[in-house]
């Protein structure tokens, strides 16, 4: 074990933790018992404090990253918790299988994807990550072992999917991959000029395309322009795979933001230009093309450590889902608050969700419309803006994504996650994070 400074993706804090490696499944129970309370860390891609425990224990099981079995007939993959989604996609996409659901970064662990019950651009047709999990094995801090799944210890399964790592340490999972014709997608970009246009376009697209997402220009006034991207898997037998960058390029990665600049590169002066440039660049590529899954699913994975661009004070991400009935007005209201504040964002994501609520007690995904906005941390003025956005979400009956949150008030959490009390029965008393103490009281 060692004392280390650990930041999450938002880089809002850099507190000391005692990092305790978990290097074997057999030995996990004893290590947990001896070093609890604590919380498991994965790739630290949650933005706030879900996987932080300042001053306390952080269990690191990332070296448990082996595949255990794969059934070529059913597509069921059994693996250790530290396997990266990136490795699953790279290993199986050429063999006709991919993850059914993936978030916008592949640099997360399987355990992290379960603990945050992540969703992707195909929520409407495929639901969330948990919908494709067959079984999970947990080790608790009292040494007990629980195996749960959709038809086995169902309550434990619903508590663990989206359960922020608080029900026990995930030591193994079985997930069902999806048949694909290969690693290619037939993708199309379409520009829109208003929210009304977005909703019409999105509804039309959901009927015919598996993947639908849109980038919205947060800095323009008046018309809400953006680019909607939609795609379906496609066979492309005559196309060579992109150079074998997966072999060494994959581990060396692409360009990196090499250091933390003294101020946020995303700021009032640069934002309108950034957004304008991005919009124009995307407009140039309107229409259909065959693309590899990496740039389509994981555009930001191409720039390593992009979160550094927000400077030494870090950034907040406000991601909410709002019921569809009031979604259009609520989105407009949020964008109005953002415009009035003069604080903007480069990363604005607007997408409609499918009509099924996720199965986890604390899962984020639910029917409605999802809006995601990044804000450089400017201190109190940013916090005041976020509070105004919270009140829109609360009045609309929406919820904030826990994986992105660093500061939502308990009242908004309890309103957005009505099963929170039920969840407490399954929480391991020896598992505790900064977020669990803030929102669940322990």
């Amino acid at each position: 074990m060692s004392r280390q400074k650990v930041s999450s993706w938002g880089r809002l804090s850099d507190a000391e933790h005692t990092v305790v490696p978990i290097t074997s499944v057999e030995g996990a129970g004893a290590v947990l018992a001896a070093t609890a309370p604590g919380i498991a860390r994965g790739m630290e891609r949650s933005y706030g404090d879900a996987a932080l425990n300042p001053g306390g224990t952080l269990w690191d099981a990332r070296s448990l990253n082996r595949f255990l079995a794969f059934d070529e007939e059913t597509g069921i993959l059994r693996c250790e918790p530290g396997v990266l989604l990136r490795d699953i996609q790279q290993t199986f996409s050429g063999r006709g299988w991919m993850l059914a659901v993936t978030p916008g970064t592949s640099v997360v662990t399987v355990a992290g994807a379960i603990a945050n019950d992540v969703h992707g651009k195909n929520h409407a047709t495929r639901g969330t990550f948990a919908d494709h999990v067959q079984s999970i094995t947990l080790v608790r801090t009292d040494g007990s072992v629980i195996t749960c799944g959709p038809s086995l210890e169902r309550e434990w399964f619903e508590a663990t999917c989206g359960g922020l790592g608080l029900t026990g340490l995930i030591v193994e999972a079985s997930i069902r991959l999806k048949r694909v014709p290969g690693p290619w997608l037939l993708a199309e970009n379409i520009a829109y000029q208003s929210l009304a246009e977005f909703f019409t376009l999105s509804d039309e697209s959901e009927a015919e395309f598996e993947h639908v997402v849109s980038w919205i220009d947060i800095t323009t006034d008046g018309g809400r322009r953006g680019i909607l991207s939609r795609a379906n898997p496609t066979p492309s037998p005559h196309r060579p795979l992109p150079s074998n960058a997966t072999v060494l390029g994959g581990v060396r990665g692409g360009p990196t933001v090499p250091f933390v600049p003294p101020f946020s590169l995303v700021n009032k002066a640069t934002l309108p230009a950034l957004n304008r440039a991005y919009y124009r660049m995307q407009r140039l590529s309107l229409g259909s093309s065959v693309v590899h899954y990496k740039p389509f699913f994981y555009p930001l994975d191409a720039i390593q450590e992009w979160n550094r661009a927000y400077g030494p004070r870090g950034f907040f991400q406000h991601q909410c889902v709002l019921p569809r009935s009031v979604g259009a007005e609520a989105v407009a209201e949020i964008l109005g608050h953002v415009a009035a504040s003069g604080q903007g964002s480069f990363l604005g994501v607007l997408k409609t969700m499918g009509d099924r609520s996720a199965l986890g007690m604390l899962s984020y995904a639910r029917p409605g419309v999802n809006l995601t906005i990044d804000f450089p941390n400017l201190g109190n003025s940013t916090l005041r803006l976020l509070t105004r956005l919270d009140s829109v979400v609360e009045q609309a009956g929406g919820r904030l994504y826990l994986a992105k949150d660093a500061r939502m008030p308990v009242s908004l959490f309890q309103a957005g996650y009505p099963r929170w009390q039920e969840f407490l029965q399954y929480k391991d008393p020896g598992m505790s994070s900064e977020m669990s103490r803030r929102l669940l009281g322990s």
Partner: protein, 278 residues
């Protein structure tokens, strides 16, 4: 489907593996790899990369049967068309070393048939903490034997047996200059360095290449108890090693910055060096 299959069927020993060509170096992508100390984190990552890049067989040699099996299972899922086998062996006894090397590389073996396509990586060692090995001659002897003498004997045996291919051994930047923080481990690694240099001299002009790998501090279970700042991710270190070994470079620092750092450290005059606390 096409991607994986086409990569695994590169012709033997020709260096036509797509991984090698896309790297743009003159290296040979191995067809057969033999890894001694295969359960070390760096070795495991290197094996993954070699199989991903086109090697078709891997022989994993180590002490712990269960851990070898777990790694072989993982590789079997990743690369179903590759042949992965494991062998539990005594890594220290000279008789065991001689017989294992004869089996995988001697006349009539698969390794001999692979010719220039055979790469042998010797990766084992024991990172006992300096305080522990400094406090007990028995511990110190064990570190020197497991980390220094044994790997040296493996590369010696491989050099005596193989006629073509690549022998790579994991040394360490710790072997570049003795420091109070880790000189017993460092001395064992320095022993490997002199052995590798001597073999390079002896085999110059032959079809056999010897590569000395010097990783800097790497984030692995071996270093989990150290402060993690400055530790390189094991995937990145393995990527450098595989590229360097394929290219047949005499010395591979991974990451490369350690070549500069150790160049400075080696040249600090002793009166100054001995006042430094690092």
């Amino acid at each position: 489907m096409s991607g994986i299959v086409s990569r695994v069927t590169g012709s033997k020993g020709s260096g036509s593996g797509s991984g090698a060509s896309s790297r743009g170096n003159s290296g040979t992508w191995p067809t057969d790899v033999v890894v001694i100390g295969a359960t070390s984190a760096i070795a495991e990552q290197c094996t993954r990369l070699w199989l991903e890049g086109g090697a078709s067989t891997a022989l994993l040699i180590g002490r712990d049967e269960a851990r070898l099996a777990a790694i072989a299972t993982d590789l079997g899922v990743r690369f179903p068309s590759a042949a992965v086998t494991t062998l539990v062996a005594d890594l220290v006894s000279p008789a065991s070393i001689a017989s294992v090397v004869a089996d995988f590389a001697g006349p009539g073996s698969a390794g001999a048939a692979a010719g220039a396509g055979l790469t042998v990586l010797v990766a084992h060692g024991s990172m006992t903490e300096q305080e522990v090995s400094q406090a007990s001659l028995v511990e110190a002897a064990s570190v020197l034997e497991v980390t220094g003498v044994s790997p040296s004997l493996w590369i010696e045996a491989a050099a005596d047996t193989m006629t073509a291919g690549t022998i790579a051994v994991i040394g360490s930047v710790a072997g570049d200059r003795g420091r109070k923080k880790n000189y017993i481990y460092g001395a064992a690694k320095a022993l490997i360095e002199a052995m590798a240099e001597g073999l390079q001299h002896r085999l110059a002009g032959s079809a056999l290449r010897v590569v000395l790998v010097k990783p800097g501090p790497t984030a692995t279970p071996m270093t989990a108890s150290m402060p993690q700042k400055g530790l390189a991710p094991v995937e990145a270190v393995a990527g450098e090693i595989v590229a360097g070994v394929n290219a047949g470079r005499a010395v591979v620092y991974a990451p490369l910055k350690w070549m500069l750092i150790m160049g400075v450290v080696r040249n600090i005059p002793s009166p100054v060096f001995n006042k430094l606390d690092f």
